[in-house]
């Protein structure tokens, strides 16, 4: 038997099914959003609910602050996460790939959101082990909110306007809170121009994440060679240039920093060493260039030539995340280019309780 304070599971189930029936769900149950709940989301921002915060011209749809709040509520966010959702969405909409055809793409890219600053702890983001999830409500639901906005506000649904061939694991679930406490380097947001200690969000689209497990060498350069090999994988090379970030675990980051590598030095090392020979590329049918696209060229003249693939430091962003319990880092394959835009989280207008 239940007392009066126990929620009604039958009503909850009926409400969840109501949402499924309307095709609003990403496959998992949604939190049915009511006006009082959404009002608490809207109270966390000074922005007008009708303000358009994202437009997808090619499909004639847009997202307002209000629609973002409804979708964030449905994703399971608490109201106080809403400023992070708004900042993440704004950061994504600054990305050329997300404004263009990214959401419709056969590559099915996943947003990667990076949160910096004190808001990580204020809202209970996971900043340590299992950085890529799952298990933590803020990380999981902020990322999911973006997916629901794309699905519902923009109307980009799988098999219809969304044409992902296979998609990728982690789509709508990657929200890293940088492990600033154990990183030897400045936070990602600081590199993006935010003052030290600022709460801020950046985001881009990923093609995939690939681990680099290297825990048995004390030589930082061997770790970098291992990272470079993963970055230089031919399967991921489609254009002349590529962009691949590295989410270093604290152990690798500290080892590198201990050997005198700044973030910039790591980036420069990777720019210098990432690439393939003409023979490697030819073997994979990617040695020719038509415009910027790689294609199979029978010409063997450049077989011995080494082609670098990372044109600038901006193409190899670095973040530190995860636990300090093993030397496992992640190469994150960026869809297009990461603008590196960092959106600060504005102060909350009033104390919000949930």
């Amino acid at each position: 038997m239940t007392d009066d304070t126990t929620p009604d599971p039958d009503a909850a189930q009926a409400a969840i099914e109501y949402c499924y029936d309307r095709d609003w769900s990403d496959g998992l149950p949604l939190v049915p959003a009511s006006q009082p709940l959404v009002d608490r989301f809207l109270a966390t921002t000074t922005r007008n609910p009708d303000e358009v915060i994202g437009e997808l011209e090619q499909v004639g749809r847009n997202c307002t602050v209000y629609l973002a709040a409804v979708n964030a509520a449905m994703a399971g966010c608490r109201p106080e996460y809403f400023p992070v959702v708004l900042a993440a969405f704004e950061a994504l909409m600054r990305e050329r790939a997300a404004r263009g055809g990214g959401w419709q793409s056969t590559s099915g890219p996943a947003p990667m959101i990076v949160v910096n600053g004190p808001i990580r702890h204020e809202l209970g983001f996971n900043t340590a082990g299992g950085a890529f999830g799952p298990g933590f409500r803020p990380n999981a639901t902020v990322a999911r909110a973006i997916g629901l906005i794309v699905r519902n506000a923009f109307g980009i649904r799988p098999h219809v306007l969304e044409q992902a061939t296979q998609g990728l694991p982690g789509r709508w679930s990657i929200c890293l809170a940088e492990n600033e406490e154990e990183s030897p380097w400045p936070p990602f947001a600081t590199e993006g121009g935010q003052p030290e200690g600022a709460s801020a969000v950046s985001a881009t689209l990923l093609r995939t994440c690939e681990f680099v497990d290297n825990r048995h060498t004390p030589d930082p350069e061997q770790v970098l060679w291992d990272v470079a090999d993963t970055i230089s994988r031919t399967g991921s090379l489609i254009f002349k240039d590529t962009s691949a970030g590295v989410v270093f675990c604290p152990e690798h980051a500290q080892m590198l920093a201990g050997a005198g590598f700044s973030k910039q030095a790591v980036q420069e090392w990777l720019i210098e060493h990432c690439g393939r020979t003409g023979a490697d590329l030819r073997r994979a049918g990617k040695n020719g260039l038509r415009g910027i696209a790689r294609f199979a060229d029978p010409d063997t003249a450049a077989d011995g030539q080494f082609s670098r693939i990372l044109p600038s430091r901006r193409h190899v962003p670095i973040v530190v995340a995860g636990a300090r319990n093993a030397a496992i880092s992640m190469v994150v394959r960026i869809f297009g280019e990461w603008s590196g835009t960092v959106i600060p989280i504005p102060p909350t207008p009033a104390k919000v309780t949930s």
Partner: protein
């Protein structure tokens, strides 16, 4: 009364789009100026070039303008549509061979129809659903376009020419009465 469950799509407030206009068809392509709108996808340029060449050779059309869309994911910019509308009688656009570019090839076809030009969009047959969804979004439910079997990007030059020849009748049917 319980609170209503809120709609996350925002579509109820959007007015239904008016039915998109369809341009008057030509009786035939004899003497017609054909515009080719190439979307930069692999093999799109040789494919459309060959369609244009065959239209000239077999139907007496004149290909006078080939233009390239800088951003294949988005519909063609207005000034490009205007430029081609001024100089051409019919438009062929493609190849819709990805999630966004198949949808936008159809959107371009519909935009040219609205500007008064018969247009034939060519898409890979793997993208029918997304092409149809875009047509619905543009108020052109049931919009007809030509398809060629997937894949297109890996075809050799000879195979591209064969494909162009195969799709030719459909293209002509789309552009004429």
């Amino acid at each position: 009364m319980p609170n209503p469950i809120l709609d996350p799509t925002g579509t109820t407030a959007t007015a239904a789009k008016a039915q998109a206009p369809r341009a008057k068809r030509r009786k035939d392509l004899n003497g017609a100026t054909v515009g080719l709108l190439v979307n930069t996808k692999q093999n799109a340029a040789p494919f459309l070039d060959e369609v244009g060449r065959l239209l000239a050779q077999r139907y007496g059309a004149t290909v006078t303008m080939a233009r390239t869309k800088v951003n294949f994911a988005a519909p063609a910019p207005e000034d490009l549509v205007k430029e081609m509308t001024t100089s051409c009688d019919v438009i062929i656009t493609g190849i819709g061979d990805c999630g966004s570019c198949s949808a936008s090839a159809v959107a371009d076809g519909i935009a040219f129809e609205a500007a008064g030009l018969p247009a034939a969009a060519i898409c890979s047959d793997a993208f029918r659903v997304t092409a149809d969804a875009m047509a619905d979004l543009q108020g052109a439910h049931g919009y007809r376009y030509a398809t060629t079997p997937h894949p297109v990007a890996v075809l050799t030059p000879d195979q591209v020419r064969e494909r162009a020849a195969v799709v030719l009748d459909d293209v002509v049917a789309l552009l004429t009465t």
